[in-house]
């Protein structure tokens, strides 16, 4: 698999910031080995936004936490390769990883309520990250922090920096979280569902903010989400994950407008429609796969409505590779169907109004 082209959108001239190759993340538990990520390969260039979508347990958060080295090494098995800005992280010392955190790659967590220390002032918590990587006085770090809070649109940043997390509203806390993520001008920003806890208007503001900041700093963004509306708004590339593997990876236009994988069809189909007519929500039947006993062959086959169109029960026997299929130039997908484009145009497109 590592022989495959690492990225479907090989843009020349841009510097590669992240290269993940055949990444596997496993957690030994009392019930058995949890295979959270099973051979994930992708890469990201500076200035691009990659959205990783998929349901809970698809491995999107776990794989991104691995990029930050945030898994407890005593309780996690990681293999494969993660090259961040030229440094191999798998097998690297804690000290090497520590120095890259926040300065090269920063992470914005999904729950800003619990992700800030409840007993410490917001400004101090952000300044602390700056102080770790810069030899400056506390005063300089605090000035920088206030600037950053101002940049992410927090009014009265001077005063706000001296407040505690519980004195912030949800949206303001998420902005502060972003300020924390950007304080060291990281080249890669990983945002783990940065807008799930927020209402729609604040959501839009936060996404705009991320877009603006990316334009300003030119950093790369990995956006983890299950909200496809968010993806359409900000992503350049989209990677759909299922059962710890990428099942479809291409530009946002390719994946959202002409998806080739039945799981992506299901995801798009289950987006609620805004209409007065009501009706039932459409779902993907079945449950997410057990990560301890992944289904044989294609992990999605027990839930796939189209597996009977593949001759010889191939879907349950053989795992399809993540490859560029006929009719595509850059997008890679992982499906045995001979003509997914035909099926999509004939049967699926009309249902996705």
């Amino acid at each position: 698999m590592s022989a495959l082209p690492a990225t479907p959108v090989a843009e020349s001239g841009r510097e590669r910031i992240l290269e993940v190759n055949d990444l596997q993340v496993q957690f030994p538990t009392a019930d058995g080995l949890v295979n959270a990520v099973n051979g994930l390969t992708y890469s990201l260039d500076m200035g691009r936004t990659l959205a990783i979508v998929g349901e809970s347990g698809s491995g999107k958060s776990v794989s991104s936490m691995a990029v930050m080295g945030l898994h407890d090494p005593r309780r996690t098995r990681i293999s494969g390769s993660i090259v961040l800005d030229g440094t191999e992280l798998v097998g690297a010392s804690q000290e090497t990883i520590r120095q890259l955190r926040s300065s090269t790659a920063a992470m914005i967590f999904q729950d800003p309520q619990s992700s800030f220390h409840p007993f410490k002032k917001i400004g101090d918590q952000i300044a602390e990250a700056y102080l770790v990587h810069h030899k400056v006085s506390k005063k300089v770090a605090m000035t920088r922090t206030v600037e950053m809070l101002d940049r992410v649109g927090i009014p009265n940043p001077d005063r706000r920096a001296k407040q505690y997390p519980h004195e912030f509203s949800g949206g303001m806390r998420q902005r502060a979280m972003i300020a924390l993520g950007l304080i060291n001008d990281p080249r890669l920003l990983i945002a783990d569902e940065p807008t799930t806890a927020l209402d729609v208007t604040v959501q839009a503001q936060i996404l705009d903010l991320l877009n603006d900041l990316q334009r300003e700093f030119g950093s790369a963004i990995v956006l983890i989400t299950h909200d496809l509306a968010v993806v359409a708004e900000v992503a350049d590339d989209v990677m759909v994950m299922y059962g710890g593997r990428a099942v479809e990876h291409g530009t946002a236009h390719e994946v959202l407008a002409n998806p080739r994988h039945p799981y992506t069809w299901g995801l798009l189909g289950s987006v609620p429609k805004l209409s007065a007519s009501g009706g039932n929500l459409r779902t993907i039947r079945g449950l997410p796969p057990s990560l301890i006993n992944l289904p044989s062959g294609c992990s999605f086959h027990p839930r796939c409505d189209f597996s009977d169109r593949v001759p010889g029960g191939l879907c349950s026997k053989e795992l399809p590779g993540l490859e560029v299929r006929a009719g595509d130039t850059t997008r890679r997908s992982r499906c045995h169907l001979a003509d997914p484009a035909g099926i999509f145009d004939a049967e699926i497109a009309s249902t996705l109004e």
């Binding site: 930050m68 945030l70 804690q94 520590r98 120095q99 890259l100 955190r101 926040s102 300065s103 920063a106 992470m107 967590f109 729950d111 619990s114 992700s115 800030f116 220390h117 409840p118 007993f119 410490k120 918590q125 602390e128 990250a129 770790v132 990587h133 505690y164 519980h166 924390l180």
Partner: protein
């Protein structure tokens, strides 16, 4: 803030009043014969009447209660014996003000408890953190095992053994001796050091597992992950982030425990022969010296109420989310 403190003080006072009423009812309305106890062997009915008159025991119970409470606030004049406020009554047996006896015993208990707190907080937090850090490893098992073993043996048994073997038979540790810190701080320290180490070490066993559980809980919090994602070192995370949150609940526990211990470290004082509040209470139980028992109870109530208030105020300092209003 000021309103909060004022309200808490008023609330505390009402609790104290209730405690005084209850104490009075239990000890002075019950079937006791203080005059007979005071009278001694060559007792005549006349003498009993005289003593009852002196102590005001011939008056109605309600009047006695008013006198008792008034004594606490403003002092009293008991049958010609002057008793300054706060007057806790007059000891039947020792024939002196209870307040004096408490004043003598209290510093002893305070000395024992404060030294003990220093030792058991330090050991409890230290070993609790170590156990949490090495969770599941042999070191953790040893620490938890030892602490479980120690807490499962009654304290008075351990204290007896320590006294007999370490102090008496082998003389490894000098016997406990109390001198006032005001008279001689050095002998105050050396005289109590053995007790502090013993008492503190045994009690720390209770806190080791508590701190360990609290630290493990904190380790899994999202804000620890955030701290790590900032690039902070593990030591900084453990001390500045995890410990700060981990010991907050410990503070509440500590406040309540201290209050209870100040009321009388009974076993410690009895076994090591120190004349503190616990011993005072025990001696007066033996001699049915009701005013002294009641006095110890009232003083204990005052300590518990004020330490509770102190802990709440301190908690507001540690956890900014706690609004004191």
């Amino acid at each position: 803030m000021l309103v909060y403190i004022l309200r808490r003080v008023l609330l505390g006072l009402s609790v104290l009043l209730a405690a005084i009423v209850a104490t009075f009812c239990i000890f002075f309305l019950g079937p006791s014969d203080p005059a007979g106890a005071l009278c001694g062997r060559q007792c005549t009915p006349d003498r009993i009447v005289q003593i009852e008159k002196d102590l005001g025991l011939n008056k109605p119970k309600t009047e006695q209660f008013v006198t008792y409470t008034k004594g606490l606030v403003a002092g009293n004049d008991l049958g010609g014996k002057k008793c300054d406020a706060p007057c806790l009554g007059w000891s039947y047996v020792q024939n002196r003000p209870v307040t004096d006896m408490v004043k003598q015993a209290f510093p002893v208990t305070v000395s024992i408890v404060i030294g003990g707190i220093v030792v058991y907080s330090t050991l409890g937090i230290l070993f609790g953190m170590i156990a949490a850090r090495f969770r599941g490893k042999p070191l953790d098992r040893v620490i938890v095992g030892v602490s479980q073993f120690v807490t499962s043996i009654p304290y008075f048994v351990l204290a007896q053994l320590f006294f007999l073997y370490a102090m008496v038979y082998y003389g490894l540790i000098p016997r406990a001796k109390y001198t006032s810190i005001l008279d001689n701080p050095f002998t105050w320290f050396t005289g109590l050091l053995g007790i502090w180490l013993f008492y503190g070490t045994v009690l720390s066993a209770n806190y080791v597992r508590y701190v360990r559980a609290s630290m493990i809980d904190v380790q899994n919090q999202d804000y620890i992950r955030t701290a790590r994602s900032k690039g902070l070192g593990e030591r900084k995370i453990a001390i500045s982030h995890a410990l700060r949150a981990g010991i907050a609940p410990f503070l509440t526990l500590l406040g309540l425990a201290v209050a209870a211990e100040l009321g009388g470290a009974i076993f410690t004082e009895r076994i090591f022969g120190l004349q503190g509040m616990g011993n005072l209470a025990l001696t007066s139980f033996d001699t049915s010296d009701l005013p002294v028992i009641a006095g110890v109870v009232v003083v204990g109530a005052v300590i518990i109420v004020s330490l509770n208030l102190l802990v709440d105020l301190l908690y507001g300092l540690v956890d900014p989310r706690v609004k004191l209003s």
